[in-house]
């Protein structure tokens, strides 16, 4: 089963839903997410429970346990450029088969990928990612699933909310339909299948950044 998860090293991570997933008897998950969470919180917890087979991410340096899981052969990590990952999810949600990106030409991001030349310039053909489930978090949401994010917690929550057959959003503030400004909706309820109240918080920026996070880009 494939799951797309929104958030960015803690910012906007759907921790209520991840906590719920921790209590479920599931396994063999393939996770599409920018990262595995922050420190010991987030998707890394599912990895430590042995629920995750593979993670497709741009960076897993903010969760030290991921390295351990990889080293011990318990987890496969597919490193993907951040922009490529965001576009894979958006394309999956948009019914496109894939896209051509110049990012990663001449690097290992090419490996196993088809190269297409257009006007003399090479591009990597990246297949779209369509997932079974997506978990996202928003600051505000209404009962139909319209979502409004806050600040930099918008991030991967928008493309993740598009790409799955069943999309669950946890919202910090739940509104009835008509209370949110129709001009200011970031994600239309058309993409969202279920809405729950967020009951845990995430906390990132008051901590010192991890050494690993500071070292790498």
């Amino acid at each position: 089963m494939s799951i797309a998860i929104g958030g960015f090293i803690g910012q906007g991570d759907p921790l209520t839903l991840i906590d719920y997933l921790k209590t479920m008897d599931v396994g063999d998950l393939t996770v599409y997410e920018n990262d595995a969470g922050y420190r010991d919180r987030g998707t890394v917890e599912l990895v430590n429970q042995g629920k995750v087979k593979k993670i497709v991410a741009s960076h897993v340096g903010t969760t030290p346990d991921i390295a351990k899981a990889m080293n011990e052969g318990r987890l496969e990590v597919e490193a993907t450029p951040q922009g490529t990952l965001a576009e894979m999810l958006r394309c999956g949600g948009a019914g496109l088969g894939g896209f051509l990106t110049p990012t990663g030409i001449g690097t290992i991001a090419e490996e196993g990928k088809q190269i297409v030349e257009l006007n003399g310039r090479p591009f990597i053909l990246v297949p779209a990612a369509r997932c079974d489930i997506a978990l996202v978090r928003a600051h505000r949401g209404d009962t139909w699933g319209n979502l409004i994010f806050r600040g930099t917690s918008r991030n991967f929550n928008v493309p993740a909310a598009m790409c799955a057959d069943y999309v669950i959003a946890e919202v910090e503030n739940l509104y009835t339909m008509g209370e949110l400004d129709p001009e200011a909706i970031h994600t239309s309820g058309i993409f969202v299948d279920a809405v729950v109240r967020a009951n845990v918080s995430y906390c990132t920026v008051r901590d010192e950044p991890l050494e690993a996070a500071a070292r790498s880009k």
């Binding site: 450029p81 951040q82 001449g106 930099t152 991030n155 790498s216 880009k217």
Partner: protein, 236 residues
């Protein structure tokens, strides 16, 4: 070399042009924002979904939902805005970011950049770096000239997995500034205070030519003086 990072950040800030939109990598590149010259207004994009990044918030005023890609708290200046990751990388890949400043492990003669993984080391991931070096109009490599073991980071040919091929435009170290031109390759334009042309040649593996109007003692004088003073106090 305690002041090397400051020297690099200060010199790198001199590259900024008024009105430019820039993206600063995590760590040393982020320090460049502290040295923006007077009269120069730049707009800082952060790839996790913000533009118009301003000064860090006052202690106690940090906001969980206002952070940069390194999870450091940020503020936005007037005119700034937030967006999602797909839109953010549309900006970056689409050439809407004028200039990016990134640290590196290695950079080579052909402008190849290797800054995301050491073979045999732990995989962290390339984050947004591959998109940034591909999409930004000007790619500045800001790095100490040599690795901890003393070997040059400015190599003939990168040995680590690449972040981008043929993408580096400018290298700024605490010792020198080199710029790459389509036909001439790397050109040494500036040498920092405390270093000679011979010093640069000795610690640089990639081939370069010396600009006719190369500037000696071009930057870093303040830091060099401070360092000299410190050494003298310590009796070194």
């Amino acid at each position: 070399m305690g002041n090397a990072k400051q020297t690099i950040a200060r010199r790198a800030a001199q590259e900024l042009r008024d009105g430019q939109i820039i993206n600063l990598g995590i760590g040393l590149p982020t320090m460049i924002a502290n040295y923006v010259p007077a009269g120069i207004d730049v707009v800082i994009q952060t790839e996790n979904g913000g533009i118009g990044v301003g000064p860090a918030p006052a202690p106690g005023c940090e906001d969980r939902d206002r952070a940069n890609a390194g999870n450091q708290p940020i503020t936005l200046v007037a005119g700034g805005s937030y967006f999602d990751s797909a839109t953010s990388f549309a900006m970056i890949r689409g050439g809407h970011v004028d200039s990016t400043f990134l640290g590196t492990l290695q950079v080579d003669e052909e402008g190849n950049i290797a800054n995301w993984i050491v073979p045999g080391g732990l995989l962290a991931g390339m984050g947004g770096a591959m998109d940034l070096v591909t999409g930004a109009k000007i790619v500045h490599i800001v790095t100490e000239h040599c690795a901890r073991d003393g070997s040059s980071k400015l190599m003939q040919r990168c040995t680590f997995p690449l972040t981008g091929a043929n993408e580096a435009d400018v290298i700024i170290t605490e010792r020198a500034v080199l710029r790459r031109f389509a036909h001439r390759g790397w050109v040494l334009e500036e040498v920092a205070a405390g270093y000679s042309l011979a010093d640069i040649a000795a610690c640089t593996e990639l081939a370069y030519t010396v600009a006719d109007d190369v500037k000696l003692d071009a930057f870093g004088a303040d830091e060099a003086a401070a360092e000299k003073a410190a050494r003298s106090v310590l009796g070194l």
